[in-house]
Symmetry: C2
Subunit: 344 residues, 2 copies
Amino acid sequence: MTPEAVLSWFRGKRVLITGGAGMLGSTIALKLVEAGARVKVLDAMLATYGGNLFNLEPVRDQIQFLQADLRSPEAVLSAVEGAEVVFNLAAQVSYIDSNRDLITDLDINCKAQINLLEAAQKAGARPKIVFASSRFVYGKIEYNPVDEKHPFNCLSIYGIHKLVAEKYHKFFTLQHGIPTVSLRIANPYGPRQQMKHSKYGIVNWFIRSALEGKPLTVYGEGLQARDYVYVEDVAWAFLYAAWSDRTGGECYNVGSGTGTPFQEMAHRVAELVPGTRVIHTEWNLENQLVETGNYVTDISKIRRDTGWGPHVSIGEGVARTLDFYRRNRELYWKSDSPLAEVQP
Amino acid sequence: MTPEAVLSWFRGKRVLITGGAGMLGSTIALKLVEAGARVKVLDAMLATYGGNLFNLEPVRDQIQFLQADLRSPEAVLSAVEGAEVVFNLAAQVSYIDSNRDLITDLDINCKAQINLLEAAQKAGARPKIVFASSRFVYGKIEYNPVDEKHPFNCLSIYGIHKLVAEKYHKFFTLQHGIPTVSLRIANPYGPRQQMKHSKYGIVNWFIRSALEGKPLTVYGEGLQARDYVYVEDVAWAFLYAAWSDRTGGECYNVGSGTGTPFQEMAHRVAELVPGTRVIHTEWNLENQLVETGNYVTDISKIRRDTGWGPHVSIGEGVARTLDFYRRNRELYWKSDSPLAEVQP
């Protein structure tokens, strides 16, 4: 299936995007407006989270924006009303924070998900729901590339709760006939990610550091492989998963399908910002305890069921991301931001 | 290891049992008092739940009883203080109710578990925690006998939340060094189970029905295999799992290790109460959607790591249970109880 054909499927469709002011949600929103969908964006705009209204600037007159929190059942009910497709991205997305404040993670990543699914059930329209899960459900990695049958060796509360929320979605498919699909995203990066702190992804944080003339810090030798996937590719995966009628009740990995050593990624960023230094430091205990080992995504299942595949290499993606923040830096961070906490 | 040696390990130990006024908790409490442990029982005594103070009657002067709810972080903190072993059984245990009231199940079976684990962490004593999980984590069964590597095809919110709570326990082992172990109990039955409604187990409900002169209702032919495990055997599994130093961070199945067709169990009850009829009826949709298929437990892992094994056959267990309720019927139900909802 061509991207154009997938886009045309969305023409006139009523689509809700939860967490739609964040990196991935806004990237999806831009594509849906281009496709002629009727787009409603819900975002709680929590202070340290990923929502940024500038992300939606290019389409602000063509979407309906609701500032609301999924933790409120009433707000969710009116938001879901009439939706034919829901891209369900609203979340607490820092695994570091999840391990420090378990109850907040539970409330946002579990309880709020129940609210959304019950609202969809009550709304009666049985929308197709595409849920943003994470590679963190796999935790400690036993083999590579990682397919969807890999054990769930969760190392973080975030990973545990993403697994639960996947199972809620599947439960509503089995019990209530609402088609749902969960996408386990590897390490996403790209334009429109929040840059206030480092807890949402290290590629973006390195880009900020480089633009500020700071060195990029690598733990140990930095040989651990990661599957960095560009947000445009992830957004397309969500559109394909919504469109395909083979995805109901399923879980799919989404990644670039290739592993990049951490230090290679650091050097790619450094090379594009002349003068940037890469320095090596020791692992600290907190990072060691949550280190998953190498991670490379097996993306054959989603490719088979939807025809989706990634198109943007790490080099190209880093270059595009750098370009975006060079142009829009002042809209994403102030230079007096708090100290970084690195998520490798 | 002999049962006597395991019991002697508990002599003088400070033990907390959450949900300790229920069937399993009280059975454990009786053994611990016999062993000379210092036993604290916490139970919220929720109206339709399993707590019954008569369960603890034989040891009421030898234990400390706290009526408190794990949903209150403060109550949990003071209860856990000083405990060397925690048997963590407090729960909402009806999968039927879990599918109707997801948020209550979340609050009791997830949030309250976080409260307990955080309290244990704060208490500093690093108690060994033995958590009561369930065969429902496996949901739809793919093969028998079911070992601990079986996929988690949860069909109920209860099953999903038991899986989450297992992962919380494991997380606190990995991150905070608190030794925890989860036991996935098959179909437990026996003396001291609540008999007000049928949602906690069908063996006990059939025993009540037979004692009241009512017929026993079997869905379809009743050929589905279940692993009915007598509460005394389950209680011993908890003691062995607490005692063994090989169980930290692990999950184990607990069952009889044998499959009994549903209708055979019904006929065993009927034969022991002369005049009892067994009737067959059609499946209803709600039960069909949560039917797991045959379930027989592979108990080799817990046998290998702790030496525990079951000793009470289904015939012997049903006879003992009948005898208990014949003597104590008026303490477990009034004859004007509401209609049954059967959990096969």
